[in-house]
């Protein structure tokens, strides 16, 4: 029996989730929205509420408003020419679901997206209406991530930004030609224009110190990797450009999963390791002071046998080993195996005493890779021969990958800086 006025049916929820789940964006961080009476607030560090058997976190209620699409993007299972069950939810259904899930602490907020139902303007209007409803009628102040619909009216885009915490337009494919081939109704311009519009409007909003919110958690985007022939070098150059020009908070990389059959699409799933390497490189760009030119040439892929920092270090052996007691933070961050957390620990501890290898071990700095690239108090415990270092590192990687791919180590203290959440 059901007493709530517009509780969504299980079947509809299933259909609308099934088509939303391939969007990999999951973060709920970056917004400090306050509770102003009613329910919910933002948690700047973000928060994971559950984990599914595929190892991904459930942070937001990730759902489509509708999967009934007029577009025909080849890689998408909601495309017009695909025979799948269709459903469209009402704004009330989405709002009730969000508030009741949120209240029980199942979720951190809403990730609302939609297939292009009827027309881009109609769809965007429905999305905006839902979020506005959620904020004003349901008094919900939790996190809302709204997907932008390409080719929707400018005014609708601005209005959406007043209510959402984060918005994203998916670049989808790393080049205009692939986009033309696989997503004929989308174009680079239809995706980049609203991103730039939002960026400049956000800057004006902040400069004028106006009341309320305008995308407090900024914008993100997503690219599918492995559905088209672009190399990692090209993909990362695009990502770096997006970080610098459109001020994106994050670029997500999504390994291509074949959900539909088409002659222009590969039939095999793109390897998870490639996606993993792209994320590692992305982290190096944003938090470790690397430039894409240092990591990989435009026409090449990242090496699979080493992580990108290791690969860089092996190409630049003349810079190593560095002395942990004297090296500046920027250099410590470039040592393979030393991350933001370990670097901070070293900086802190060495103010009081000269560090030895025993100290580093005690501080739980992982030395498996790092020992080949550092000295502690002048002592070196690694292998001098570059070739054997190479072999040792590759062997260690192979072992790790065989065990399990764990993207991030657990922890929260540095979660924001390392962008973990």
């Amino acid at each position: 029996m059901c007493y709530t006025q517009s509780m969504i049916t299980e079947e509809k929820l299933h259909i609308l989730t099934e088509s939303a789940k391939y969007d990999v964006s999951c973060s709920s961080s970056g917004s400090g929205r306050k509770n102003a009476g009613g329910i919910g607030n933002g948690m700047p560090d973000g928060c994971c509420h559950s984990f599914t058997p595929d190892g991904r976190c459930v942070s937001l209620l990730k759902i489509l408003m509708s999967n009934d699409c007029v577009f025909d993007c080849k890689y998408c299972m909601s495309r017009r020419s695909c025979d799948v069950p269709r459903a469209t939810a009402t704004p009330e259904e989405i709002c009730e679901l969000t508030v009741d899930f949120y209240k029980r602490n199942y979720i951190e907020g809403l990730f609302l997206s939609s297939a292009v139902h009827v027309s881009p303007d109609h769809t965007m209007e429905q999305l905006v209406r839902t979020v506005k409803h959620l904020r004003t009628k349901y008094n919900f102040h939790g996190y809302v991530h709204l997907k932008g619909i390409p080719r929707a009216d400018r005014a609708l885009v601005s209005e959406a930004a007043r209510y959402a915490d984060r918005m994203s337009y998916n670049v989808e494919l790393p080049s205009e030609s692939s986009l033309k081939l696989l997503a004929p109704q989308k174009s680079k311009q239809s995706l980049l224009l609203p991103m730039k519009q939002l960026k400049s409007e956000r800057e004006i909003f902040r400069a004028e110190k106006r009341k309320g919110y305008f995308l407090p958690a900024g914008q993100t985007t997503q690219m599918i990797v492995g559905a088209s022939p672009e190399r990692d070098g090209q993909i990362l150059r695009l990502a770096q450009g997006l970080y610098r020009v459109t001020g994106l908070k994050r670029v997500y990389y999504s390994s291509y999963v074949p959900v539909v059959e088409d002659s222009v699409l590969p039939a095999v799933q793109s390897p998870a390791l490639r996606e993993h390497r792209l994320y590692q490189a992305d982290w190096l760009l944003r938090f470790y002071g690397f430039d894409v030119e240092e990591l990989v040439p435009a026409a090449e892929n990242l090496p699979l046998e080493f992580d990108p920092k290791c690969a860089w270090a092996l190409r630049n052996m003349h810079l190593f080993p560095v002395e942990v007691n004297r090296a500046p933070l920027e250099m410590l961050l470039r040592v393979p195996g030393i991350g933001a957390r370990s670097a901070q620990k070293i900086l802190s501890a060495r103010r009081y005493t000269a560090l030895t290898f025993e100290h580093l071990q005690k501080m739980r700095v992982v030395l498996k890779r790092a020992r080949h690239f550092i000295t502690a108090g002048g002592k070196f415990y690694g292998t001098k021969n570059e070739l054997s270092v190479r072999e040792l590192l590759a062997a260690g990687e192979a072992q790790e990958n065989a065990r399990q791919l764990s993207m991030f180590e657990n922890g929260t203290a540095l979660s924001v800086r390392t962008g973990e959440l």
């Binding site: 928060c47 599914t52 058997p53 190892g55 025979d83 459903a87 539909v260 929260t412």
Partner: protein, 275 residues
């Protein structure tokens, strides 16, 4: 000498004052295997001594009481000893030692504190509320460390108008927010009359959890790393059976995500939804 105390802050501070000059003290809040000829002392909290000790320690490190609070919440049996060593180092050096990570005592205390605060962070996500008939929310938890009341400010911030109870069933205590006050109360067992919609929302949540999973990308080890099995007990999404189904499905039958779908006949662009 072995120093026993009841795990409270004041008893710890009293013990600290008494045991400070002991060269080889063993400080314990629980059971400790006694060997022949070992002396032991049971220390009772002494309000006077505790205040004196606290005032002196705060002079040396004004933030150290927060560290103590977190260390004493730890469920690990050697936490009191770690806390003792940490505070002894503060007293010896006469200043904050937080950054001296190369010191054994500091490294251990930092790790211990990190495990407690990390569990607090995790439970901000893993707590699951049930809605009672009165509208109040109830969440049973069984954390490793004594953190129930540390969760209250977080939830009070987001649902200030809804009373809630976070029940640590392992320690028999509950952290309560009644809409105006937050307090701790002993609570062994709780009887909750569920609201009319509660089971329906749980069913929807279960449906969502199953639907959002991608079975062809099974990574159960990673799932368990992020969300340890001991926390699954009170989660209505039932991660155990979902993991089980995914593991079986991945090897026996091809999941619908791995199998390419046959393209169907083109539909009219303005077709009505077909649920």
């Amino acid at each position: 000498m072995i120093w026993f105390f009841d795990g409270s802050k004041d008893a710890f501070l009293t013990t600290f004052l008494l045991a400070y000059r002991d060269e080889h003290p063993i400080v314990s809040a629980g059971s400790h295997q006694l060997s022949l000829g070992q002396e032991c002392v049971f220390v009772r909290a002494d309000e006077n001594k505790a205040r004196r000790c606290e005032a002196r320690l705060k002079e040396l490190d004004k933030n150290c009481m927060r560290d103590l609070d977190l260390l004493l919440r730890s469920g690990e049996s050697d936490a009191p000893r770690i806390a003792f060593e940490y505070f002894r180092l503060i007293a010896e050096r006469g200043r904050p030692v937080r950054g001296m990570l190369a010191e054994d005592a500091v490294a251990k205390a930092t790790e211990c504190i990190r495990r407690v605060t990390f569990e607090v962070h995790r439970f901000k996500g893993f707590v699951r509320f049930l809605e009672s008939a009165s509208g109040a929310l109830y969440a049973p938890i069984s954390p490793d460390h004594d953190i129930a009341d540390l969760l209250v400010p977080h939830f009070r911030g987001r649902i200030p108008d809804i009373p809630f109870v976070i029940h640590d069933v392992r320690r028999g205590k509950a952290a309560v927010w009644d809409g105006a006050h937050a307090f701790l109360a002993p609570l062994e067992e709780a009887e909750v009359v569920l609201s009319a919609d509660e089971t329906a929302w749980q069913a929807l949540w279960k449906q969502y959890y199953r639907s959002v999973n991608i079975p062809s990308r099974e990574r159960i080890r990673q799932m368990k790393g992020y969300m340890p099995v001991r926390y699954w007990k009170f989660m209505p999404e039932d991660p155990a059976s979902a993991a089980d189904r995914t593991a079986r499905g991945a090897s026996v039958q091809k999941s619908p995500d791995a199998a390419p779908r046959p393209p169907g006949s083109p539909r009219s662009p303005h077709g009505s939804p077909r649920p």
